[in-house]
């Protein structure tokens, strides 16, 4: 289906329920009644085009999101990525962890395989938390500051100092690959573990891991192919305006 402003929000979700994740991350409440996308966005103070571009990318997948998403204020994307982060940390990750804990308690094979999986997954959580902390504590505040200061007459003295010694490219080095370990976990569960006692639980953990993996992939594309290039542009504009005179 082609998504346009007059499409009913409920029709949109019915045609592609994976888009619920987008709604949730934009904190759009349910209870759409017969309202169109346009009306819902207005009510929730969300830019219509930003919503359409995000929803179209998730739904159609056939273009590079940077071309359309980069033209919006960066703070919207940051807000979106932040709520994605909290979704992972508060919900998806603990759920998978709980399920692995349950699998371990049900494991009667006498081996330590589930214990190993749990240990491995907890290592992953630690890595993941570092990624999120780096974003929340350093990268995002820097980006928001950058955008804010760019439109001022005169940038804050303190930020000017930061901007002189910093570029988003430095962060990229620290920005670790948060998908690799998860893929490994998935492959080990899928290929190398003897079938456990509770198949329903086991299958469900796998499904959750696949889902999270796909979602993280989209998240990485948004961070690395939209956010970072957009910030590089903002940095250039900032330096042209303030530091290169």
């Amino acid at each position: 289906m082609h998504i346009n402003p007059t499409t009913k929000m409920s029709d949109l979700v019915q045609s592609d329920f994976e888009l619920l994740a987008v709604l949730q991350r934009l904190k759009i409440p349910f209870g759409f009644k017969e309202k169109s996308i346009k009306t819902v966005c207005q009510e929730q103070n969300i830019d219509l085009n930003f919503f359409l571009n995000l929803a179209r990318w998730y739904h159609e997948r056939d273009f590079f999101p940077g071309e359309t998403l980069m033209n919006h204020p960066v703070k919207w994307l940051v807000k979106y990525l932040r709520s994605t982060h909290s979704c992972y940390i508060d919900y998806h990750i603990p759920r998978i962890e709980e399920d692995i804990v349950r699998m371990e308690s049900l494991d009667q094979s006498g081996g330590h395989n589930m214990q190993l999986m749990l240990k491995f997954f907890r290592e992953y959580i630690a890595e993941f938390t570092t990624h999120i902390q780096l974003g929340e504590e350093k990268i995002f505040p820097y980006i928001l500051n950058l955008e804010e200061n760019l439109y001022k007459e005169k940038p804050d003295a303190e930020f000017l100092k930061t901007a002189r010694g910093y570029t988003i490219k430095d962060f990229l080095e620290e920005h670790s690959d948060i998908e690799e370990k998860l893929l490994d976990l998935r492959n080990i569960l899928l290929k190398y573990l003897a079938p456990p006692s509770d198949n329903c639980l086991f299958t469900n953990v796998l499904i959750e891991i696949f889902r999270l993996g796909n979602d993280l992939n989209d998240h990485t594309i948004l961070e690395e192919s939209v956010l970072i290039p957009q910030v590089i542009k903002l940095e250039e504009a900032f330096h042209n305006k303030f530091t290169l005179q």
Partner: protein, 191 residues
């Protein structure tokens, strides 16, 4: 069966290739990427066996880097925006080629890939690879392993690439878990 990635900026050509490949035997999975910036990311994530790449695309990485992120059995077929001579090599297809010509060339590579793949996949890790894996799982670096086993670091790296490809496990902790599950190392070894 091969995983195919189409890296092509032209919407029409990309869609055309997708629909052609959907009808082609030997394609296990199919993905398309249309923007130079997402292509590299997609290659890394998706790890294709066959890459159809438009030769006019300027990737942000060099050709050598490209081959190093692809696995060792992967094949690249170039999409050329101009007509090709009758006797053009099989790893070049032109946007002007007929359906038959395209199918012929692409199928050739799919078959070639399949034969190398089957030979390789049929066997497990070689004893040598197991030995390397054991050392990796115990936490030794490539350099340490090279010294211990009297081989070059380069050889260690190429063994590791093969191990990762055969097992589908990339990270050291993932390899450690695999080794523990399969008794290549014991719990006591890493405590």
């Amino acid at each position: 069966m091969a995983k195919v990635l189409i890296a092509e900026t032209s919407y029409l050509v990309r869609k055309g290739l997708v629909s052609l490949l959907e009808q082609t035997e030997g394609v296990a999975e199919l993905k398309a990427a249309g923007h130079p910036d997402t292509i590299v990311q997609t290659i890394k994530e998706y790890n294709p066996d066959i890459l159809l790449l438009n030769s006019a695309i300027q990737l942000p990485i060099s050709h050598n880097e490209l081959t190093s992120i692809l696995h060792s059995k992967a094949r690249i077929i170039y999409i050329i925006n101009t007509p090709l001579p009758e006797d053009s090599p099989s790893h070049q297809i032109s946007v002007f080629d007929t359906k038959n010509k395209l199918t012929e060339k692409i199928s050739y590579h799919l078959k070639q890939y399949e034969t190398t793949e089957e030979k390789e996949e049929a066997e497990d890790l070689t004893p040598r690879e197991k030995l390397i894996l054991k050392h990796v799982a115990l936490g030794f670096t490539n350099k340490e392993i090279a010294t211990k086993l009297f081989i070059s670091t380069h050889t260690v790296i190429s063994h590791r690439k093969n191990i990762t490809r055969k097992l589908d496990i990339k990270t050291v902790s993932g390899l450690t878990v695999y080794s523990l599950i399969n008794g290549i190392i014991k719990m006591e070894d890493i405590q």
